[in-house]
């Protein structure tokens, strides 16, 4: 061990740790399978809706057994054929039918956004996918007790925490963007527009969620359970409640960014006075600020924490 010494570098060790921890995430097979499984199921459902009743009003029926709205329109169109003798009536009927069809086309984007992107993706899949990777960055190491190999290396503990954050972030971003893309693509042309409008908010939301769940992974022994409880009790419930409590939730700011992009398509919160949206820049800064503050606090916390899991 005494031949030509080469100075070890903590920076080199830190970069190696990022790569190593990133590869280790592949070992969390159960989570990857679960995440991909959920993506397949959700995409399948969107494809099914797109191919059957669609996201507009045309394929809907007023009551079971009745013709669809498209069939009603066709019936009306056939009942009032262009007639030079009653040009005024024909023009009126044609105008009404065109208006209905155009407004249905503009209805598809908000409908798809509301149900697929906001309810399923932002409200459920995005936090779930993010937590499944982010909580395991340190949590899985602790659970398998292999974390000791990290804490015995000559690396500052805060650097270990930060390296794990950077290692897990590409996984979370990749999964969420691929997931959003798959869901939107399954929704047809309006879905593709939705992806173009919402991917940026997804990136910002994912970074903030990753920072939060990574922190939870470092401080709790059962981080996945805590993160799940947080996601579905705080993000989902508080995020939809009137008042200012929802401003503590990450999904609120993600939605604000998305609403800002969707406004041009006539998609707004159902009750803007209740939702009390913030501007795009504010939402962006809050999400990035949340990620930075949580990561900095996590580094500070982690540098002072002892892990006595096997004692």
């Amino acid at each position: 061990m005494n031949s030509t010494p080469r100075a070890p570098s903590p920076v080199r060790a830190w970069f190696f740790l990022i790569g190593f921890a990133m590869r280790r995430q592949l070992r969390v097979r159960q989570l990857v399978i679960l995440a991909v499984g959920m993506l397949v199921v959700a995409t399948g459902l969107v494809v099914f809706v797109t191919q059957t009743i669609g996201w507009g009003m045309m394929e809907r029926v007023m009551r079971p057994g009745m013709p669809t709205n498209a069939e009603v329109l066709d019936y009306v169109e056939v009942s009032f054929p262009p007639n030079p003798g009653s040009a005024m009536v024909s023009t009126l009927v044609g105008g009404i039918l065109d208006t209905v069809r155009v407004s249905d086309a503009t209805f598809i984007f908000p409908q798809l956004s509301r149900w697929v992107v906001f309810a399923v993706f932002v409200g459920f899949l995005m936090p779930l996918w993010t937590l499944s990777f982010a909580t395991s960055a340190i949590g899985a190491e602790r659970e398998s007790r292999s974390f000791i190999w990290m804490t015995t290396r000559p690396l500052p503990r805060s650097a270990v925490y930060l390296a794990h954050f950077f290692a897990v972030l590409p996984w979370c971003l990749g999964l969420n963007l691929i997931g959003l893309f798959a869901l939107c693509a399954a929704g047809g042309p309006s879905g593709q527009e939705a992806f173009r409008r919402y991917w940026e908010a997804t990136v910002f939301g994912t970074i903030a969620f990753t920072a939060l769940f990574h922190f939870i992974g470092a401080i709790f022994r059962r981080p996945a359970v805590v993160a799940l409880l947080y996601s579905f009790f705080f993000e989902t419930l508080a995020g939809d409640m009137p008042g200012t409590l929802k401003r503590l939730s990450i999904s609120f700011y993600t939605r604000c960014m998305m609403y800002d992009e969707a406004r041009k398509w006539g998609f707004e919160p159902e009750r803007p006075e209740v939702f009390q949206s913030v501007g795009l820049e504010t939402a962006r800064w809050v999400l990035i600020g949340t990620a930075v503050v949580l990561t900095a606090f996590g580094m500070w916390w982690f540098a002072r924490s002892e892990y006595k899991d096997d004692l």
Partner: protein
């Protein structure tokens, strides 16, 4: 074996708590170094205490190690692992300070000087032994070439070079211990902390490991080795620290401890139906220095030279057919030391 020096500081306080502590220990050979070494010790515990909630892990431990091998023995729950984790910066003391080469053991820079072979049998199981050690080398900050070189050297030292390409999950306990040791020595640390390194290793493997420890000690390394088995440690070193209930009950050479133990009267409680009769017979023994009868069925005996005393006592009990209901050493430290020195597991 190279220089091995343990110095106790603050012995006055410790002596009050635990009269069995000797400072500094007497040496058989070579003679104790009398020079004053200005360099900070490799490992220094200064009045260190550590609690887990209401349970005490280590209690006011003061210990100074330089080079050579030091054995750390004690029963389960005595505080050995806590002491080792404090030394390796896995835990922070609530009171006192632990330092390695003058740097706080919790500080990441101290870990450059520390190699730790933990007792937990955990690896990245999907890796080969070579890949695991290489990963640990890279995490120490070496570039690929240097990490490879150190990995091969460490594997060579622990005798695993030709078997290191198999997956760790297929290794025997002994091979896993060797891989753990390889990762502990690859960065050439001055302090090597080994928690139960011989457990699960076959006799031939043990011998090889003992030889390796001796070799490391001969390279001026400081080895702190914990074990349940004093017998194993005796093959390595004369210098041991005996832990009991979070305290260092005794420290020094085995011979010194034995001598000291002989001079130090130990207190034993004996419950039986005829305490008076037993007391009458025991009073003639030259090792018994005091007797007390707090109740009709209890005899408290103060005896020096415990090994001889217990021999006499056993003979008397057999000859006179006393029905002993309870036998309990009342001095905890003595209890622990007796356990180890008389060849038990720490439970007398």
């Amino acid at each position: 074996m190279t220089e091995n020096r343990m110095v106790f500081r603050g012995t006055q306080e410790l002596e009050i708590e635990s009269p069995l502590i000797i400072a500094p220990p007497k040496r058989l050979s070579p003679p104790p170094p009398t020079f004053v070494d200005d360099r900070p010790p490799v490992l220094l515990f200064e009045q260190v205490s550590k609690w887990y909630g209401p349970v005490i892990g280590v209690n006011q431990v003061t210990l100074e190690l330089r080079s050579g091998i030091t054995g750390l023995v004690g029963a389960n729950g005595a505080g050995k692992s806590t002491l080792l984790r404090l030394a390796t910066g896995q835990l922070k003391p609530q009171m006192g300070r632990v330092s390695v080469h003058g740097v706080d053991a919790w500080d990441w820079q101290a870990k450059r000087h520390v190699g730790y072979c933990p007792d937990v049998d955990v690896f990245y199981e999907e890796m080969s032994g070579r890949r695991f050690v290489l990963t640990m080398a890279r995490l120490c900050g070496y570039d690929r070439r240097e990490a490879n070189r150190r990995t091969e050297e460490a594997l060579e030292q622990v005798g695993m070079r030709d078997r290191a390409d198999r997956k760790v999950r297929g290794y025997s306990k002994g091979m896993r211990q060797r891989i753990k040791l390889a990762q502990a020595i690859l960065h050439d640390p001055d302090l090597i902390v080994l928690d139960e390194p011989l457990s699960g290793i076959d006799p031939v493997g043990r011998q090889e490991m003992l030889e390796l420890f001796m070799k490391l000690a001969s390279q001026n390394k400081c080895l702190l080795i914990s074990s349940h088995e004093l017998e194993e440690l005796e093959k390595l070193t004369e210098h041991v620290a005996i832990m009991s209930r979070g305290r260092i009950a005794a420290v020094g050479t085995l011979q010194t401890i034995r001598e000291m133990l002989n001079d130090h009267p130990t207190t034993i409680r004996i419950d039986l139906e005829q305490p008076r009769e037993l007391g009458r017979l025991l009073i003639d023994s030259p090792d018994v220095v005091g007797l007390e009868m707090p109740s009709d069925r209890t005899l408290i005996v103060k005896a020096k030279n415990p090994k001889q005393f217990f021999r006499t006592f056993a003979q008397l009990v057999m000859e006179e057919d006393f029905a002993i209901e309870r036998l309990e050493p009342l001095d905890d430290s003595t209890h622990a030391i007796l356990g180890y020195l008389l060849g038990g597991s720490g439970k007398t």
